[in-house]
Amino acid sequence: MNFYGVMAIYKFEMARMRRTLMQSIASPVISTSLYFIVFGSAIGPRMGAIDGIDYGAFIIPGLVMLTLLMQSISNASFAIYMPRFSGTIYEVLSAPVSYIEVVVGYVGAAATKSVILGLVILLTANFFVDYSILHPVWMLSFLVLTAVTFSLFGFILGIWADGFEKLQIVPLMVVTPLVFLGGTFYSIDMLPPLWQTLTLFNPVVYLISGFRWAFYGVSDVHVSVSVVMTLVFLAICMLVIWRIFKTGYRLRT
């Protein structure tokens, strides 16, 4: 195990976050705050409670998930895409590090940033709406698990992408719709029956539902289903990454 190698990658990435603090932390915090102001403070009081939870508090888990997903993907995809783009990837490829160590370094840093960000957003939310966390350990577990899973997904995206557009398109065109339609702003019980069924094919539903359960003890699907689905997605990402390194796809010709 090349411990120093993993730490070198991890520290390098965390240093990148510190350099780009405005972009890494401030801009997601500002955009999420806008959601809280509009949907939580302004519109929220005029909406009825959902499952007995005030609307402003109801949307918090979904909004945290939205940022967590977007940031995990973009952090990890940029982390591996930039060295490929600038050519500095040669050094990582020629170093005595295994692919698991490379993934732990990059994905670990990306997930760390996302978790920090998620917690910062929760603190920010405190200024706009009242909320409580029923199962803090579960909340943190979902936060970490989701950050790791989607950082892995971002890592795959960063290896697959052959241009900056693709890095942007997937979060914008795929992840944002899935999050918006995944129960961030409503309970899926509120949908017509056909849409309720279709929604179950959206993996984000399980993440948000489980995360909301950790906050308020209510969920769209049973929490165990949420945990299993998250782990399934995590396993799929790991399998894809294993294949990527096995075949050298886009990394080693």
Binding site: N2, Y4, E91, G248, T253
Partner: protein
């Protein structure tokens, strides 16, 4: 002595079907400077990239410091430092950070004293807190060398290290490379500047269209393949080469004022004496004479165009 790098029956076929390397066999000795020469696209960088782990091999075996580069890649790679051809550097990191990063990546515990020494040796110490993007091309090249030396490799690859580098820096680099060799580091360099190989290398390998066509001690190579020319500047022009010299490799040039005699440098000088005697007998006077030994460049051009 066990070679520091041993390449055995190495082949590389890229996905498109292009065979970049054909059955390469090559041993590089510990502590030598080995220059790999070849025209563009001959396979130099592919060969280096395979040994360093950046490109996968198709078949064959490669050992670095006795370690199989595939099965025992950790041990093999930790002995190798690579300075690639392209100036691929980070932009926003400082010189100090990027060199420290490289040392960690190669599995070595932090050693600020060593990094300091490397930076000082490469005249980068004053720039240690500068962002890489603010450095000139030559300075960036030094940073890449510093990164490669950060983990104290026993084998150093320099892929065209002095391309686009000014004369002063080139001299500095040559001194540095010699210094490393004196410390026992094995150095493999590819270069377009044949004078560089001529000046630096202990042995020379020539690669052409993916095949190693020659590996030879530099002095032996120059002796074996080198040609010498004797130029005689005549007092009076000649219209044609005199009949007595028709069988000799003699040519007339410079409007008849120059007689050029080409001979193998391995040959004894008997030919020259005979030529001069014949000229004396024929009463052909000359006002000056000069001999010239072919450079490695001539040899190289001759080899790759065969």
């Amino acid at each position: 002595m066990q070679p520091d790098i041993s390449v055995q029956n190495l082949n590389k076929v890229y996905a498109g079907g292009f065979q970049a390397l054909k059955d390469i066999n090559l041993d590089i000795r510990r502590g030598e400077i080995f220059a790999l020469l070849g025209p563009n696209g001959a396979g130099k960088t592919t060969l280096i990239s395979i040994i360093c782990g950046i490109v996968n091999l198709s078949s064959g075996k490669v050992f670095a410091a006795g370690h199989d580069i595939v099965k025992d890649y950790r041990a093999a790679r930790s002995t190798i430092g690579l300075v690639p051809q392209e100036l691929n550097t980070d932009s926003f990191e400082t010189v100090w950070d990027t060199v420290t990063f490289s040392r960690g990546l190669f599995g070595k515990a932090a050693n600020p004293a060593h990094i300091e020494k490397v930076l000082k040796d490469l005249s980068l110490w004053d720039k240690r807190n500068n962002r890489i993007m603010s450095l000139s091309g030559g300075m960036k090249r030094r940073v890449m060398i510093a990164k490669a030396l950060s983990h104290e490799p026993e084998i150093l690859f320099l892929d065209e290290p002095t391309a686009g580098v000014d004369v002063e820096l080139r001299r500095d680099m040559w001194d540095m490379v010699r210094g490393l060799r004196d410390k026992g580091v094995t150095i493999i360099l590819t270069t377009h500047y044949i004078e560089e190989a001529e000046e630096m290398a202990d042995r020379i390998g020539v690669i052409r269209e993916g095949e190693i066509i020659l590996v030879e001690d530099k002095h032996v190579l120059m002796r074996k393949l080198g040609k010498k020319q004797l130029r005689l500047l005549l007092q009076q022009p000649l219209e044609k080469v005199p009949g007595e010299l028709a069988l000799e490799p003699v040519e007339l040039s410079g409007d008849g004022f120059e007689l050029v005699y080409t001979f193998d440098s391995q040959q004894e000088q008997a030919g020259v004496a005979k030529l001069l005697r014949t000229l004396g007998d024929l009463g052909i006077e000359y006002r000056d004479l000069q001999t010239r030994e072919s450079s490695l460049e001539d040899i190289f051009v001759g080899l790759v165009h065969e």
